[in-house]
Symmetry: C2
Subunit: 329 residues, 2 copies
């Protein structure tokens, strides 16, 4: 998609006025890696920033086959029915955006994508997780400025992106299916501890009883292994995204979590800390990228990494040499 030259202030006004094409264009601008686009994107964000922060920010992950798309669609429709305005963003560094995958995203949430009050955006293209995460964070802010008040950020649950998503949302949901003790097979270590709530999907038909039992077992296990340090005890719910039952309970839990965090100032503190950490992450990534792109470093790097991995050079000494090269010392 080619962007015509555009005044960031004018684009910001159109975004705030709720113009859909402006919103799509703003996010495309944010996803662009062209330096001049990046400067415009930052100017745009600067304009929009005072109007952000009003949404409930929710991250969702789950094992493959847990029914994430169906769940997000049912959840989004419930939000609409409550008078809310949902936006769905995807984080999946491994799936480059193609015409096919946009179509895929829209197809898999057909009812939701048809509603003009909802917004669905597929994962941006981009090779690094850091890049994708940055753009998704910024797209979230744009959606907030455009008036969306429930942002759902979806991640695939098997890669590196879950921590990045947990670091940009207010609440992180883990979607499971009843599977007789194998529910978590294939999910990455550490993801359970990121969850602010666990939802056992597919609690319908033959699986209804198994889902209730799985939820009870998870509740007991969580009680033992992950006590509520922050005053929030991680609940385990069941639902059927297919029959759209139990979705109201999920929404109620989201509201309770928000109230619990909001009441003691934890939400504001969490968001401030997330913003600070995000700044430092970007500083760090930018510096590392500069270092990697330095011709003197690049010439030495493969050999150096190999020597460190094989135990021939101490990692500290290698690091010192790379930094010295980079700084031209």
């Amino acid at each position: 998609m080619t962007l015509s030259p555009l005044d960031p202030a004018a684009l910001a006004r159109s975004v705030r006025a709720g113009e859909r094409r402006a919103l799509a264009r703003a996010i495309t601008l944010i996803e662009s890696t062209r330096p001049d686009h990046r400067a415009s994107a930052e100017a745009l964000l600067h304009e929009l920033l005072p109007f952000t922060g009003g949404a409930v920010r929710i991250g969702i992950t789950g094992v493959p086959g847990a029914g994430k798309s169906t769940f997000i669609e049912s959840f989004g429709l419930h939000v609409l029915a409550q008078g809310g305005r949902p936006a769905v963003l995807a984080v999946d560094p491994s799936s480059p955006r193609t015409g096919g995958s946009i179509l895929g995203d829209k197809t898999r949430m057909e009812d939701l994508s048809r509603d003009p009050r909802a917004f669905i955006r597929p994962s941006p293209s981009g090779c690094t997780l850091g890049g994708v995460a940055r753009r998704t964070r910024e797209a979230m802010l744009v959606c907030e400025a455009a008036g969306f008040d429930v942002i759902v950020v979806e991640t695939v649950g098997v890669g590196q992106s879950e921590t990045a998503v947990a670091d940009m949302v207010d609440m992180f949901l883990l979607l499971l299916v009843p599977g007789g003790g194998d529910e978590l097979q294939g999910i990455k270590k550490g993801i359970v501890e990121l969850a602010d709530a666990i939802i056992v999907n597919k609690a319908d038909g033959d699986l209804a009883i198994a889902a209730a039992r799985a939820a009870r077992d998870y509740g007991n296990a969580l009680h033992l292994l992950a006590p509520a340090a922050t005053g929030w005890r991680v609940p385990v719910l069941t639902c059927s995204a297919l029959t759209r039952t139990g979705i109201d309970s999920v929404w109620k839990t989201v509201c309770e979590h928000r109230d619990a965090l909001g009441a003691n100032g934890a939400l504001a503190a969490r968001r401030a800390e997330q913003a600070r950490a995000w700044m430092w992450n970007e500083v760090s990534e930018t510096l590392l990228q500069s270092l990697r792109e330095d011709s003197r470093v690049a010439a030495l790097l493969p050999e150096m990494e190999q020597s460190v991995a094989s135990g021939r050079v101490p990692p500290g000494a290698a690091a010192r040499r790379l930094v010295a090269l980079f700084k031209g010392e």
Copy 2:
């Protein structure tokens, strides 16, 4: 402690010959922040590196009051009885090393510290976790070159240091006490998922039954929440460090874990990946430190962090500005 000028090659020879004072001096050199000492330390490590890697590297954490010192002492004595040579290193960024705390460390492991075949080193002084972790990693290598074949790295279990320790060892142990469901109170979120084995200590006297029950409950919960993705199912053991019972089972588990990892090449891969990650961590930390110390950055930084935290400046834009200042653009 003042270091006299010393030839790193000569010091390395003395370390390898098993001279205790050389070992202590080598670690003191590694802990020094003086630039000339750092250069000597790196030369020393370079000499020693070919003779490292022979130890079983074990990390231990636990809730306060879990009896870590007593456990490490019993465990170390068991290693000695098996003909092994244990070294104990501590990582605790919050406790500066003083005469008192050295005494403390030696006192709390009296029997072990009295044995000439064992070595106990308290936490190095140093304000940053990164600094302490780096020195501990390097001290571990020095101990290996000196012939110690079981290295125990202790961490306090409530701070930031557990991930750093898990990233430098082959196996990470979590020590708990039977506490009627409150076993994990006070422990940081995410630590359970780092554990390669869980040990319920204080399984003696009145608590013996409670310890067995806690171990069974943890085993069930872990089975549900943390399935063995890598082919290693996290075991839950009981022991009494006080009466020195069950320590043999812990040692047996350590050996089984090592065999399991060693058999499929996972141990070598894990250590190579740890070394590579360590190098990149040091590169990143060094670059960030340079940036923070840059006078132009330092002048702007407090205001910038505040603006980002309060949502007045987008984190990405702030990061770009800081890096541009640093690079003199």
